[in-house]
């Protein structure tokens, strides 16, 4: 009784024996049995013995029952795997290890518990499919959620805590809707507002800020829909951002969102979701695009895990291989799919079939367009209560820290308050699948506004709701908070069709960095429905010593103290060029220095790029001079390139990226003429070169090579000379409160160390910002 015994002991204390036994079966017993069912399974099991089910084991084969529950010593299964009886099993395979045998013995001695693979959850509860609208319990609470919870608390003799202060509420609400903390001014305005309905009003105001709302929630949807801007695995994956962002901005009803994802219009950018993640080459049968589509749609929209059932009948839930292929057949070119079990063809076929046949059927010979349309109908059918419950539960989990059903991807599990889940789902449907309404409904409840409790790492333990859990800021929220505190936003530079643009951006718009990956931004190869809220050492190393944060803080502190010079404008910007050349002709009268930048514009292989500066001439009163003849600290190589199909000699080439600088002070030059270009002769199979050239006449600001247009997401903080004013603002924005006396003292020590003469020290401000950002009060939503 090795592992099992221990498990049972632990779990009887926690009172969750059943689920632990299930988990043991799945993880300990089933893997051992798997080596048996290869032969003793399927339609024609060896010796008539089917070890795939408990019934099959009890019925046994030619020699009698395979197991006698409670008596391993009398069980044929044990006798054959130990070799006590010939032939030793598995026949032709390696004998089982002593460990594996003892686990099987222990399991049989424990009466061979076999988890219920039907839809039934614990206690005989079965997840219903139709929607249900339970009556709202009577009571004075204005939000029906709280009336359901009053009954819940009463039946458990729990006196719930009150609600949090306005400040704590405001911080929660800002992060949960727009992903940013309130600025000091916004927070003060809210705190000073004496209107009793101000919380609901704040929720409404925040939700009405559609761009900001979209920029926060898009990360949640990107995780769910496996969307990552610019991450395309060499062209085999399509971004859906151009569809998703407007969908959120316009608050597209959820049923329509899902319809457009599973039945996209031709050429709609929503198509990327069904395209899935594809790597060049051949793939396993369980990972074809249509099988991915089946897994993803089932998981994301219905909380059903079909991953196991994409290879074989699942042993963790009731879904079968046929279910996965039936759903996949709604998304595949072929409408009749052959079932492939663990990469072996079975000779059995299935046409399109939805997971819940009661919702309708689609003819076997329907076209792909018809099948997709049918899928859209089935997923979003008013009779499919599971559809709304699943998303409502995800939102509850996101806002409260823990779902009404856990895990949020296993909606066959029993909710801790079924009436509440069902009511919330039907209210969501009654409001036309309005996601903002759903947010407002939850956030305006007392449940959301109760004091937070610490999260628990183990979601299998028994749970009683008594307040929202402490939640971690996401990587994107953290990075954006750094920007709110400092006024330093990252800049997204783009160049399309010759038009250069630079805009302030929020973190989600950029590719992941070592910092954001360490903080939990996933590589979206798979669907991610929750993020880990635990801090890790690698992440702490990035925060403590990483370049990304240090760079932001150095700039941020200087910006706050008005020490950051404005970025000089570029005098020439080639835009991203992929071939050929661009000319420039610039007035450089009075210019002292030249900065010639050659930057990577997203080359497949930057190291192989052959590009450079062509025939660059300076003209002054004394005539014309070749730039290449002037002294340069940085080395370049003159090469003959083929540009625009012409041999072009003497191109000043450098490695990508390199900046050439020249001192021309006092030389009297008035014009700089020349061209930039790249070699287009040696373009091979998948080398894609993309280069961007700039010329500056002052030291460029590498964070802002193109003049930024537009406003930052949050108005920049004003420059403050007064340390206390600065400290107040930073604490309000970091923690939604003012510092206490001791904290203020420490903050002042940071900003005005001895000998500073009352002038705020830049380095001290960097360190104070860092300390606030590392603070648990900032990194968590309380």
């Amino acid at each position: 009784m090795l592992r099992l015994a221990k498990f049972c002991l632990l779990c009887s204390i926690a009172g969750c024996l059943a689920s632990a036994a299930d988990s043991d079966f799945t993880n300990v017993i089933h893997p051992v049995l798997e080596s048996c069912v290869k032969c003793h399974g399927g339609d024609q099991p060896q010796a008539g013995l089917n070890l795939q089910t408990r019934e099959g084991m009890l019925k046994g084969g030619k020699s009698g029952p395979a197991i006698v529950p409670g008596m391993s010593q009398n069980s044929l299964l044990v006798k054959h795997i130990t070799g006590e009886l010939e032939p030793r099993m598995p026949m032709g395979g390696a004998p089982l290890t002593a460990q594996q045998i003892s686990v099987i013995r222990a399991w049989i001695d424990d009466k061979a518990p076999w988890p219920d693979m039907s839809a039934k959850g614990s206690g005989g509860w079965q997840s219903p499919i139709p929607p249900r609208t339970p009556p709202v319990p009577p009571g004075s609470e204005s939000n029906p959620i709280d009336r359901f919870l009053r009954v819940y608390f009463q039946s458990r003799n729990v006196t719930p805590a009150g609600v949090v202060s306005d400040a704590v509420f405001a911080r929660r609400a800002y992060y949960d809707v727009i992903g940013l903390p309130p600025t000091a001014a916004e927070l003060r305005r809210f705190l000073n507002d004496s209107d009793s309905g101000k919380r609901d009003r704040l929720i409404r105001t925040l939700l009405d800020d559609s761009p900001a709302y979209a920029e926060n929630w898009i990360s949640f949807w990107n995780d769910l829909l496996r969307n990552d801007q610019g991450v395309n695995y060499a062209g085999t994956r399509e971004s859906i951002t151009d569809w998703l962002r407007p969908a959120l901005q316009t608050n597209m009803p959820y049923d329509r969102m899902v319809s457009e994802l599973v039945n996209p219009e031709p050429k709609s950018p929503a198509e990327g979701f069904l395209v899935g993640v594809n790597w060049r080459g051949s793939v396993s049968a369980s990972q074809t695009p249509f099988m991915q589509a089946a897994q993803n749609t089932a998981q994301v929209f219905l909380g059903i895990n079909l991953k196991c059932a994409s290879c074989h009948d699942s042993f963790i839930n009731r879904y079968r291989l046929k279910d996965s292929y039936g759903l996949a057949a709604m998304f595949s070119e072929e409408s009749n799919l052959e079932l492939v079990r663990c990469d072996a063809k079975t000779g059995k076929f299935t046409g399109p079939e939805f997971l819940y046949p009661e919702l309708g059927s689609v003819p076997k010979d329907a076209s792909l367009a018809e099948r997709r349309a049918a899928a859209a109908r089935f997923f979003t059918s008013p009779q499919n209560g599971r559809f709304a419950r699943t998303i409502v539960n995800r939102y509850w989990q996101r806002l409260i820290g823990r779902g009404l059903v856990e895990s949020v991807d296993e909606m066959d599990n029993r909710p801790w308050e079924e009436d509440l889940l069902d009511w919330l789902a039907s209210d969501f449907v009654a409001h036309n699948y309005d996601l903002k309404h759903l947010l407002a409904q939850i956030m305006s409840s007392r449940a959301y506004q109760m004091p937070s409790i610490p999260g628990v790492p183990d979601h299998t333990a028994k749970y009683v709701f008594d307040g929202p859990q402490v939640r971690r800021l996401t990587a994107e929220q953290f990075a954006d908070t750094v920007s709110v505190l400092t006024g330093e936003w990252r800049i997204l530079q783009s160049s399309e069709k010759g038009v250069s643009r630079a805009e302030f951006s929020r973190e989600w718009q950029l590719k992941s960095t070592a910092l954001t990956r360490a903080m939990g931004r996933p590589i979206r190869d798979q669907v991610f429905t929750t993020r880990n809220d635990e801090a890790t050492t690698l992440e702490a190393l990035e925060l403590m010593n990483g370049e990304t944060l240090e760079h932001s803080l150095r700039r941020g502190a200087r910006r706050l103290l008005n020490e950051l010079p404005p970025a000089p404008p570029n005098r020439f910007d080639s835009g991203v060029i992929r071939k050929a050349s661009r000319q420039f002709d610039i007035d450089i009268s009075g210019v002292k220095q030249l900065w010639l930048l050659m930057e990577d514009g997203g080359s497949y292989d930057p190291a192989q790029t052959q590009a450079g500066w062509i025939n660059v001439k300076l003209t002054g009163p004394k005539g014309t001079v070749d730039l290449a003849s002037l002294p340069s600290v940085v080395k370049f190589v003159k090469k003959n390139l083929t540009i625009d199909n012409k041999k072009t000699p003497g191109v000043m080439t450098v490695a990508l990226p390199t900046t050439l600088t020249y001192n021309i002070d006092g030389m009297g030059f008035t014009r700089l003429r020349g061209a930039v270009g790249m070699d287009d002769s040696g373009r091979r199979n998948d080398i894609e070169t993309a280069v961007r050239f700039f010329i500056f006449t002052e030291q460029p600001d590498r964070d802002e090579l193109v003049r930024v247009t537009g406003e930052p997401p949050v108005p920049p903080p004003t420059h403050v000379k007064d340390a206390n004013g600065l400290i107040d603002r930073l604490f309000l924005e970091a923690f939604a409160r003012e510092p206490n006396a001791r904290e203020r003292e420490i903050a002042v020590e940071f900003l005005l160390p001895e000998g500073s003469g009352g002038k705020i020290q830049t380095s001290g401000l960097e360190d104070l910002l860092w300390s606030l950002l590392m603070h648990p009060e900032l990194q968590y939503i309380h």
Binding site: R3, K6, T26, N27, V28, P31, A94, A161, V164, A167, V168, V231, Y233, A234, G276, N278, W279, R280, G281, S282, V283, S286, Q287, S310, E410, S452, I453, P454, G455, V470, R472, A514, A518, G520, D525, Q526, D533, E534, A535, T536, T537, L538, E539, A540, L541, L543, N545, S603, Y604, D605, P606, N685, I687, N740, E743, D767, M774, H775, E777, Y780
Partner: protein
């Protein structure tokens, strides 16, 4: 102030704190998800090695130009490609039945210390994509996968933990992840996947910059780093969090910050500083970044590292990814790896570390001049190789061959001076004896480290095995 403290942390009363257990249990719990499916008993194989150094020949190293030389045909204009199997003569080694390709003279002297597997068979994934094969090799699973598969280094970090708590358990040297077109593919497997980022790689893209990653930044300096740390802790202690105790999330934050701080101030971090290596010794390794990486790997293992990968670096069409001019480039690549790898073996041996350190040299696949992918299957050709060569740049192993590759293993209980597996002497140079798949190779490596090949971790209520479906079988013949 008091009110707001209660507001903020009222829910965090003693009641909650007691119910959730002591800080120590919480910390243990927090580190526990995902849990080992089979329980600790499963790992009770007796380890033959405590550390693993993986030397990654990124880009597909041509086996016939390195460890498995075939008939040599010198270049001449007009030479038919079909005649060429190797573009170098073979050389003798200290082991009678092992010949290597010219250019590996230093390795030839240490072949009596290790095992050479000439029959490594990687996956057949169709149209070749390097990052995909590298993903497969490093995780045991070809992408895409329905759960995020962890890198071998993360599996080892999770299962065995660090040997020295001040040295990250999974260190990855030499690969820049921002390499353009295949960046996404590389990022996808340089991760701990579902095991959680605690077990992810500690990156050193250039060994000469490693000190910066393990010391307070130059800009900050040690003194300021320490005073900032002290004030930060004062600040946390002065706030309500410090007064009102904590939950597991905040515990994890405090723990992670302490860990990072300790690492950044630890004397063990000297291992990352190559300037502390005697000049003579440094020069023995110094063939460039890869050579320096080998030296760093030795220093790290001496200091107690668990898993270190050093790569020649994958950048499309560079290094071992010889799409043209293969012969000339193989000369350069062999120069880059021959001295440092052999020196690493000798140094580990001299320090008495080779017995407990496993050194594995591998690549995502082999190469051939004509066969693309797996012989007999039609895989789209990516490289134009003329039937008749007219220029020296045509001379080399330019196509990707997945049917056979070579792997070298030193130390860690493997046989010495041992040759395993055989490939055909005529094209296609397929495996003709004792194929070793990725699953079995991994099972052998894991077994040497004391990790059972069917060790699994639970994700989404199902077991995820460290070798593909737990099916990897160790090749016992390789162990001494």
């Amino acid at each position: 102030m008091k009110d707001i403290e209660r507001e903020l942390f009222g829910g965090l009363s003693r009641r909650h704190f007691l119910r959730s257990g002591t800080a120590a249990t919480l910390a243990a719990l927090a580190g526990g998800a995902p849990s080992l499916a089979w329980g600790a008993e499963q790992v009770k194989l007796k380890p033959k090695a405590d550390s693993l150094i993986l030397l990654w020949m990124a880009g597909g190293m041509a086996q016939t130009e390195t460890w498995d030389p075939k008939r040599y045909t010198p270049y001449r204009p007009g030479l038919p490609s079909s005649e060429v199997l190797s573009t170098f003569p073979s050389i003798d080694t200290v082991v009678d039945n092992i010949k290597l390709s010219q250019g590996l003279e230093n390795m030839a002297k240490v072949m009596d210390r290790g095992t050479l597997i000439r029959s490594h068979r990687v996956g057949d994934l169709g149209f070749i994509l390097h990052s995909r094969h590298q993903f497969h090799w490093h995780t045991g699973y070809p992408p895409p996968q329905s759960v995020a598969a962890p890198h071998m280094g993360a599996v080892i970090a999770k299962t065995l933990g660090p040997r020295n708590p001040d040295i990250p358990a999974f260190i990855d040297i030499g690969q820049d992840l921002e390499i353009g077109g295949e960046s996404d593919g590389l990022k996808a497997f340089h991760t701990a996947g579902f095991l959680g980022s605690e077990y992810g790689p500690f990156f050193i893209s250039d060994p000469k910059d490693a000190v910066a990653s393990t010391r307070p930044s130059e800009y900050l300096g040690s003194a300021r780093f320490e005073s900032r740390w002290k004030r930060y802790k004062d600040l946390v202690a002065a706030g309500p969090v410090g007064k009102y105790g904590s939950g597991y999330q905040r515990e994890s934050l405090a723990r992670s910050m302490e860990n990072a701080h300790r690492l950044l101030s630890s004397p063990s971090a000297k291992a990352f500083d190559l300037s502390l290596e005697p000049e003579k010794s440094f020069q023995r390794y110094n063939t460039g970044r890869f050579g320096q990486g080998c030296l760093m790997a030795r220093r790290l293992v001496e200091a107690g590292a668990r898993f270190v990968e050093v790569t020649t670096e994958y950048i499309p069409f560079r290094f071992w990814d010889t799409h043209e001019n293969g012969h000339t480039r193989a000369v350069g690549m062999k120069q880059a790896v021959d001295a440092p790898i052999s020196q690493l073996i000798l140094d580990l041996e001299e320090r008495g570390l080779l017995d407990r350190t496993l050194v594995v040299i591998a690549s995502e696949f082999g190469r051939d001049m004509l066969v693309e992918g797996k012989p007999g299957l039609t895989v789209q050709n990516q490289v134009k190789q003329p039937a008749i060569m007219t220029e020296i740049k045509h001379y080399g192993m330019h196509r990707h061959f997945t049917e056979a590759g070579s792997v070298l293993v030193f130390g860690g209980g493997f046989k010495k001076g041992f040759l395993y597996g055989k490939t055909a002497d005529e094209r296609p140079c397929k495996i003709v004896e004792n194929p070793v798949t990725i699953d079995d190779l991994h099972a052998t490596i894991y077994t040497a480290l004391g990790i059972a090949p069917d060790t699994s971790y639970v994700v989404e209520r199902r077991p995820f095995y460290v070798t593909n479906n737990g099916k990897g079988k160790p090749v016992d013949a390789l162990f001494a």
